[in-house]
């Protein structure tokens, strides 16, 4: 490919285009770069260290999954709390939950700052907020059981999204009004791709807060609740609303 054309094409996409060939195959450099990106994603999924720095009050709980392998094989167990879990008595306006999901790395990198920003905005709005319930081996729907038991009007759940090759530490936020076990994904709203180079923490917090207020006012979340255009000011906003986003965390 001519160099000027290649430069022009590369400027408009992050896809791996214009790769040189060794025969017909990837060159050593490009092949190892691909493998390195996959290795980073694998390590992010199986990361065990690196707890987020979330100021108290924080309560640590577990799903019914015994380990990572069971988490991957049994999504049903990752959606329920371990039998002996004790939670504080509610009620709260908002339950705040942080789950490791498929990227403990995302939680370690971004959950602390995002919880801090959200707590400030929720306090300004004079809403009562639960302690942060931090779940290990948790999936999105575990927020339903937690929110129900906390008697929360709304659950806001932060979760590590399935790592891709371009980002292994992307965080998602899911909002579910009137949480109870058995809610479907169509009854949630999602903000995705929160990471360095994606949606930044401050904007993610403002967009979450706008959804919190809309959800409490209209008493619903899900497909009938849309974000207003004013809050979607980042270039990544459209990506963040992609239909493909929710299953990446689920």
């Amino acid at each position: 490919m001519a160099n000027d054309l290649l430069t022009c094409l590369r400027a408009v996409t992050d896809s791996r285009i214009g790769l040189e060939r060794a025969g017909g195959s990837l060159t050593t450099r490009d092949w190892l770069a691909l493998r390195a990106a996959h290795a980073a994603a694998r390590d992010a999924i199986h990361a065990t260290s690196g707890q987020p720095d979330i100021p108290p009050p924080v309560l640590y709980v577990h799903s019914r999954c015994q380990d990572r392998q069971q988490y991957l094989l049994r999504p049903d167990l990752g959606r329920r709390l371990a039998d002996d879990t004790e939670l504080p008595a509610g009620p709260f306006d908002v339950a705040l939950v942080v789950a490791d999901g498929l990227s403990p790395l995302a939680v370690a990198h971004h959950a602390g700052p995002l919880v801090g920003a959200l707590r400030n905005l929720l306090a300004e709005a004079q809403l009562t907020v639960s302690p942060v319930i931090q779940v290990s081996q948790g999936r999105v729907a575990i927020g339903d059981e937690i929110g129900e038991r906390l008697q929360a009007r709304l659950v806001v759940l932060l979760i590590g999204e399935r790592p891709g090759l371009s980002a292994a530490d992307s965080l998602g936020v899911y909002l579910t009004y009137a949480p109870r076990v058995g809610r479907t994904d169509a009854e949630r709203n999602c903000i995705s791709n929160i990471r360095s180079g994606g949606l930044d923490i401050a904007l993610a917090a403002r967009r979450t807060m706008a959804l919190v207020q809309a959800a409490l006012a209209r008493q619903l979340t899900g497909v009938e609740l849309k974000e207003s255009a004013q809050t979607l000011t980042a270039p990544t906003a459209r990506l963040a609303e992609s239909a493909a986003a929710p299953p990446q965390a689920e």
Partner: protein, 434 residues
């Protein structure tokens, strides 16, 4: 004396181990129970499948389609066989491209699923390699000695320039004869129509003998057609039960209507295969629409839906769904070969999205293994993703380079019309549409 198990139970217990069947609670509990079920299944007469539906006729329109469309005359030559006898026949010289093509309308999905459960990898490869399914739109796909690719130029924000950049990259590496097919981020009619017009103008400008598809919901594509958008191929994800198709927002009557609308555009130049379907094991369980049937049998039933519409392309997206359905490279590999075999036997132009997600226990070595096996099995086409990294769907699939590897290794060529185009103008000038 224990009662005779139903076909549904026997099929599930005989299915080689995969996580989705365990999750559904339908798998055999032990390896020995699995093999006993395979032995019992081997002795089942094929005729039993004609009278015992895995989902009742009254309850499911896919069952009704399977039974109503069954061609008894085509089935007659193998009507005396058991499932095990059918496997032996498939591996014998009596099974060849001609006899298999004649047999296809006489086969039911549950029959091909059953026989696949008795087969090892080499059987799945050899039997499938005997099938030849040729389809046409603006070029001819599925001929012997040919291996096609879909350019999948997805972009995380549907940026037209980004989509074109990946498309050009693919064409320069000889990909794109199966289809240039975009998975859109935005599902609205306006965005979908914009991409269709963009790629159609591009195709016409460079006189590329291939077809364009934007893989939106079928009703979105219908609205795009209503508005005059150039829809070459009608796409839809489908499954093997009425309930699963309902979860996809489709039914046979809706697909019938959309198919007719697409046919009436008469955009094909060498043929009128105007549909493109994607499937994948596990989707029924994930939609709670599985009826207690194993995921591989359900996948084969999806092919009965596909063949009603004489598709140009069908591919199983084998490694996308995640480890709770196909846990590792071994399960993904087996599933890809089963799907290819079952689809081909039923007369479908099978391709495969050979792929994996980052939370599956699989890597590029597993991808290479399945790709190589499928190519030797005569797979019609695979995906072509720049560098194997889909930055929109966040998974790894086969790259343009991977397709070049297969073509080199096995001496395979692109579709003839496309091959001619590739060599027509070596000094072709590419202009960016800004």
């Amino acid at each position: 004396m224990p009662s005779t198990p139903t076909l549904k139970t026997l099929l599930a217990h005989a299915s080689p181990l995969r996580s989705g069947d365990v999750l559904a609670g339908v798998a055999a509990n032990t390896e020995q129970q699995r093999v006993r079920a395979q032995m019992e299944l081997a002795d089942v007469p094929l005729r039993r499948f004609l009278s015992e539906a895995v989902i009742p006729y009254e309850d499911d329109e896919v069952t009704r389609l399977i039974i109503d469309a069954h061609d008894a005359a085509a089935f007659a030559p193998i009507g005396h066989l058991t499932v095990g006898g059918f496997r032996d026949w498939l591996l014998s010289p009596s099974a060849n491209a001609t006899t298999l093509a004649a047999l296809a309308p006489g086969l039911m999905p549950e029959i091909v699923a059953a026989v696949s459960k008795l087969m090892r990898v080499q059987d799945l490869v050899l039997a499938a390699s005997k099938c030849r399914v040729v389809t046409q739109f603006r070029n001819t796909l599925g001929l012997a000695g040919r291996f096609a690719t879909r350019i999948q130029p997805n972009h995380p924000t549907d940026d037209p320039r980004g989509i074109l950049a990946s498309t050009i990259d693919g064409l320069l590496l000889g990909a794109g004869d199966a289809v240039i097919g975009v998975n859109p981020v935005a599902e609205d009619v306006g965005s979908v129509s914009t991409i269709l017009h963009l790629l159609d103008r591009f195709r016409q400008q460079y006189e590329i003998p291939t077809q364009i598809c934007v893989l939106a919901h079928v009703t979105t594509q219908q609205r795009a057609m209503d508005g005059g958008a150039p829809v070459d191929l009608l796409f839809q994800s489908i499954g093997g039960t009425e309930a699963l198709n309902r979860s996809f927002g489709v039914s046979l009557s809706l697909l019938d209507e959309a198919w007719q609308q697409t046919l009436e555009l008469r955009r094909g130049t060498v043929g009128d295969n105007v549909t493109y379907f994607e499937t994948g094991q596990g989707s029924a369980l994930s939609a709670n629409a599985h009826h207690g049937i194993d995921q591989q049998t359900l996948e084969a039933r999806a092919y009965a839906v596909a063949r009603r519409y004489r598709p140009l392309l069908v591919n199983t997206v084998v490694g996308f769904i995640g480890p709770e359905y196909l846990y590792n490279g071994k399960q993904i590999t087996r599933a890809g070969l089963e799907d290819h075999f079952c689809g081909k036997l039923l007369g479908l132009p099978m391709g495969c999205d050979v792929c994996f997600t980052n939370h599956a226990e699989a890597d590029f070595d597993d991808l290479d293994t399945l790709l190589t096996l499928l190519a030797t099995a005569g797979c019609n086409y695979v995906m072509g993703v720049p560098g194997g990294d889909d930055t929109m769907l966040s998974y790894q699939s086969t790259s343009f380079h991977d397709a070049l590897y297969v073509r080199q290794l096995l001496g395979l060529k692109p579709a003839p019309e496309f091959e001619e185009w590739l060599t027509r103008e070596p000094e072709r000038e590419w202009r960016m549409i800004s």
